[in-house]
């Protein structure tokens, strides 16, 4: 970047020290530090599925998964950085890049994987809404369809911006977790040793939960969002350093919150076996809220779920419409944007319908994260291949060391997914 090119016409905006770059730098730094795409993207991992999965991990294995979280954080940083770099250097979203760079069949495979993963996410969000309102005594057979109608209506008829702010505000409740983790007086010695020393258990439950943790922390949706947000904000190679800092900081921050959920829940109900209800998960907030812990948890869960229940189908529809070739800025009339509106409506409807499946909501939530975890390595492989292409990124292509580390990450995540996938298959046939 810091080229020593001194030709006068280039000096103006290529050289690192030019006033332009400095101005932009200050502006962006201020902006990104407040609400950068990296921060939002990574914190999308702390949605309904994330919170329940982290809480379940704490309840079942106490602090034992913390070491895994360190590895996952590393992988998340690597992946999100690649997605942000692709967005900044090509100015395009991932779906659009995949359509242009791969053969149509391969691209279709990627798109189908993404749709499955994202529908899984939408199911999780509606299940989260159901679970949250059950804490307030509302049946999910009432709350989930109602929420679907409200979310669909507010997006299609245009009052969504206000709804979004309310949901965002509600979900801030989860910032109580780090405080709860400290107030719960966990065994810090054990927390630290299990964070930095590997503690694996080769049980099926541990493996399954590991995949769920991978799936909820490195959700394919997050990479989609990261690339699109960087590209849409007009962040280019010149400003990429800032965007990268934001991406890395965002990934680490979101996983610190995730770890605090694990620690708080582990300290409160650790060792009590897998999580079975939202009520149980809410116990972790007792050190902060006392008797109101359930209500507080319910509010946060509702906000986080409702926020994502609109955003995930919306941005999936955008990405798909773009890849297929329809417009990106879509009008609200069905006749003008049938594909886009159809995709959005179908996702909301399907997500809400599947969330009504009888059975335990918490299990359903974790199940969708396992599904996401199985798909994650596929999407990661696509991103890695794209970021390895010099024809696409030029000088910003992955270096040899980065390439090797990223390759290892994808392999590790892939191996984990394959083991769990194989186990599940064998389980279906009654062999294991």
């Amino acid at each position: 970047m810091a080229s020593t090119n001194t030709s006068p016409e280039r000096t103006a905006d290529r050289l690192t020290g030019s006033p332009r770059r400095q101005h932009r730098g200050r502006r962006l730094r201020r902006y990104l530090l407040v609400l950068g795409p990296g921060l939002i993207a990574a914190n999308a991992g702390n949605d309904a599925g994330g919170i329940v999965t982290y809480a379940s991990a704490g309840a079942q294995f106490r602090y034992r998964v913390l070491f895994l979280m360190v590895l996952i954080t590393l992988a998340l940083v690597i992946v999100q950085e690649m997605a942000a770099r692709l967005g900044a250097y090509t100015g395009q979203g991932l779906m659009s890049l995949i359509r242009e760079e791969f053969s149509l069949r391969v691209a279709t495979f990627a798109v189908v994987c993404l749709i499955v993963a994202n529908v899984g996410l939408v199911v999780a969000e509606f299940a989260g809404i159901g679970a949250a309102l059950e804490l307030f005594g509302v049946s999910r057979y009432l709350s989930v369809p109602a929420a679907a109608v409200v979310i669909w209506g507010s997006v299609v008829f245009g009052s969504y911006r206000y709804a979004e702010r309310i949901f965002l505000l509600l979900s801030l409740v989860f910032f109580a977790y780090p405080i709860a983790a400290v107030l719960a007086h966990p065994d810090w010695h054990m927390v630290i040793s299990q964070t930095f020393l590997p503690h694996f258990t080769a049980t099926r439950a541990f493996l399954l939960l590991s995949v769920a943790l991978v799936g909820t922390t490195i959700t394919p949706y997050m990479q989609l969002y990261q690339a699109a947000a960087v590209a849409d904000k007009g962040i280019g190679p010149d400003e990429y350093r800032m965007a990268r800092a934001d991406t890395i900081a965002g990934s680490i921050f979101s996983n610190v919150i995730a770890a605090s959920i694990i620690v708080a829940t582990g300290a409160a109900i650790g060792g009590s076996g897998p999580l079975t209800s939202a009520k149980q998960a809410a116990q972790a907030l007792k050190p902060v809220a006392g008797a109101a812990a359930e209500k507080l948890f319910g509010i946060g869960l509702l906000g986080a779920s409702a926020l994502a229940a609109a955003v995930v189908p919306l941005s999936t529809a955008y990405a798909l419409a773009e890849a297929i070739g329809a417009e990106r800025s879509v009008s609200r009339k069905f006749s003008e944007a049938p594909l886009f509106l159809g995709l959005f409506t179908a996702q909301v409807a399907l997500g809400a319908a599947l969330a009504l499946k009888p059975g335990n909501l918490v299990n359903l939530l974790i199940g969708t994260q396992v599904l996401n975890g199985l798909i994650t390595p596929i999407v990661l492989a696509f991103i890695l291949i794209l970021a390895n292409r010099r024809s696409l990124l030029g000088e910003a292509v992955n270096g040899p060391v980065f390439r090797a580390v990223a390759f290892l990450c994808v392999c590790a995540v892939g191996a984990l997914s394959l083991v769990v996938f194989g186990q599940t298959l064998l389980g279906w046939f009654g062999i294991a």
């Binding site: 103006a12 905006d13 006033p19 332009r20 101005h23 932009r24 200050r26 502006r27 201020r30 902006y31 939002i40 090509t90 100015g91 395009q92 659009s96 359509r99 242009e100 149509l104 069949r105 691209a107 279709t108 997006v155 245009g158 969504y160 911006r161 979004e164 965002l168 969002y225 699109a228 947000a229 590209a231 849409d232 904000k233 007009g234 962040i235 280019g236 926020l307 955003v311 919306l314 941005s315 955008y318 890849a323 297929i324 070739g325 417009e327 990106r328 800025s329 879509v330 009008s331 609200r332 009339k333 886009f340």
Partner: protein, 449 residues
């Protein structure tokens, strides 16, 4: 009057059937003469003796020049692990399912893109294009080649979803063109600039049809394109047309566009926008960015915009444009008309001329209608007279602006300072825009802002 339409008798049905057969035959003929580029990929390349020597990976066309339909200049063929270039004059027969070469021997040259050439599969298929006639951004689902005169040319782009499905299916389907939703290549503005030997960017001549588009339509295209294509479209537009289109863009999209463009270029574009729109665009930027853009503008323009920026967004000063036509009492109508002719680039901001006295104070606002019906040799002093125009001061709120505009019963409203010097004009359409800020063009919310 009660005559019934004839029942569809035997003859009508027969006629219909004949018509249908005719259409099917035509469609079949079209299908057989078209070659699908997507279908050609992976197809065998044989020599004169029928021995297979490789398979097609790409089709090269030359698209610099005035040709509406770019001619195929060669094929990229994979032979073993090499990508070889086969000039089109060595091709004897190009069918939809195989390519036969003229000679038995193939001179294997590694493929290197020459100046003005574009590889269709890598650079065009599945990429964004602009359909200038339909004013839409499309993605090429397939490209069709057809013999035109003596050469094989790129004639159309398929944008149907069926073609995507066809390409997913078995190879047999892939080669069969499905020309249901095909856009004439002559109506297409492609992107992906062909590079010269030194990697220098060669701009293609812009599509003539781009000039006919309304600014709002160009704005839609700019918003829908990916970054590279958007920068390219912007660079082929006339500067004036580009600035007009920018005025119509959504603030968020415009912001991103100005952000990704080099500062000099962004400044040039903003300077060409109408002052009130330029101020709106600048307001959206962060202070440092704003200063930087203003620094790249001619000092006069920058100062004018800076003064406008001082007024808050929702006051008369924030709404007004400063493109005014000022005339004095002793000028003739003919002279004023000549003056208007020179102010053509601001035509959207002018609906009247302002008559001022020697001190520059407002006397009257004379509408274009009055000017149009007046005798050329009449003086402006003949045209002024009651009623006096309703005016407003720059700090007035938007509510007061609406009231004054209603009272004035014109299409615009003058803003004057305390001594009565005209400062700007508020146009009714800008008031409408400010009253319905987000609903002006109904779009879905994007990702969380």
């Amino acid at each position: 009057m009660s005559r019934m339409p004839p029942l569809p008798g035997r003859r009508v049905l027969q006629h219909y059937r004949e018509g249908r057969n005719q259409r099917l035959l035509t469609l079949k003929a079209i299908r057989e003469s078209l070659v699908s580029v997507a279908g050609l990929v992976g197809r065998p390349v044989r020599n004169q003796k029928g021995a297979e020597i490789g398979d097609v990976t790409d089709v090269v066309v030359k698209w610099v020049g005035d040709d509406d339909y770019p001619p195929v200049t060669g094929l990229v063929v994979r032979v073993g692990r090499r990508e070889a270039y086969v000039p089109f004059d060595q091709v004897d027969k190009l069918d939809s399912d195989q390519v036969v070469l003229k000679s038995a021997r193939l001179d294997l040259r590694d493929f290197a893109r020459r100046e003005g050439e574009v590889t269709l599969v890598r650079d065009v298929l599945d990429h964004q294009l602009v359909d200038v006639d339909g004013v839409k951004v499309v993605r090429a689902a397939d490209l069709y080649l057809a013999p035109v005169f003596d050469s094989l040319r790129l004639v159309g782009v398929d944008v149907s979803a069926q073609s995507l499905l066809r390409r997913l299916g078995p190879a047999r389907w892939r080669t069969r063109p499905t020309p249901d939703k095909v856009i004439d290549w002559a109506a297409i503005q492609p992107f992906g600039t062909p590079t010269g030997p030194a990697g220098d960017v060669k701009l293609r001549t812009p599509h003539q049809g781009l000039r006919r588009l309304r600014p709002g339509e160009v704005a839609d295209l700019l918003e829908n394109l990916g970054r590279t294509a958007r920068r390219e479209l912007l660079s082929v537009l006339e500067p004036e047309a580009a600035a007009d289109a920018l005025e119509e863009m959504e603030p968020r999209e415009l912001n991103a566009l100005l952000q990704e463009a080099p500062a000099e270029e962004a400044a040039r574009l903003v300077a060409r926008m109408e002052p009130d729109e330029a101020v709106d665009a600048l307001r959206e930027l962060e202070p440092e960015d704003r200063e930087e853009l203003l620094g790249h503008m001619p000092p006069a323009t920058a100062n004018r915009l800076l003064r406008l920026l001082d007024y808050p967004d929702d006051t008369a000063g924030g709404l007004m444009t400063t493109n005014l036509v000022l005339v004095t009492l002793d000028e003739t109508v003919a002279a004023v008309r000549r003056g208007l002719r020179d102010a053509q680039e601001h035509r959207t901001d002018i609906d009247a001329v302002i008559v001022v006295d020697d001190e520059g104070r407002l006397i009257d606002d004379v509408t274009l209608y009055e000017l149009f019906v007046a005798e050329p040799d009449a003086k402006m002093s003949d045209l002024v007279g009651p009623p006096t125009p309703v005016t407003i001061h720059p700090d007035a709120t938007s509510r007061e602006v609406v009231e004054a505009l209603t009272e004035n019963r014109g299409s615009s409203l003058l803003v004057v300072d305390q001594e009565g010097h005209p400062m700007g004009r508020i146009l009714a359409d800008d008031v409408v825009d400010s009253l319905v800020p987000d609903q002006a063009r109904l779009h879905f919310p994007k990702l969380p802002a």
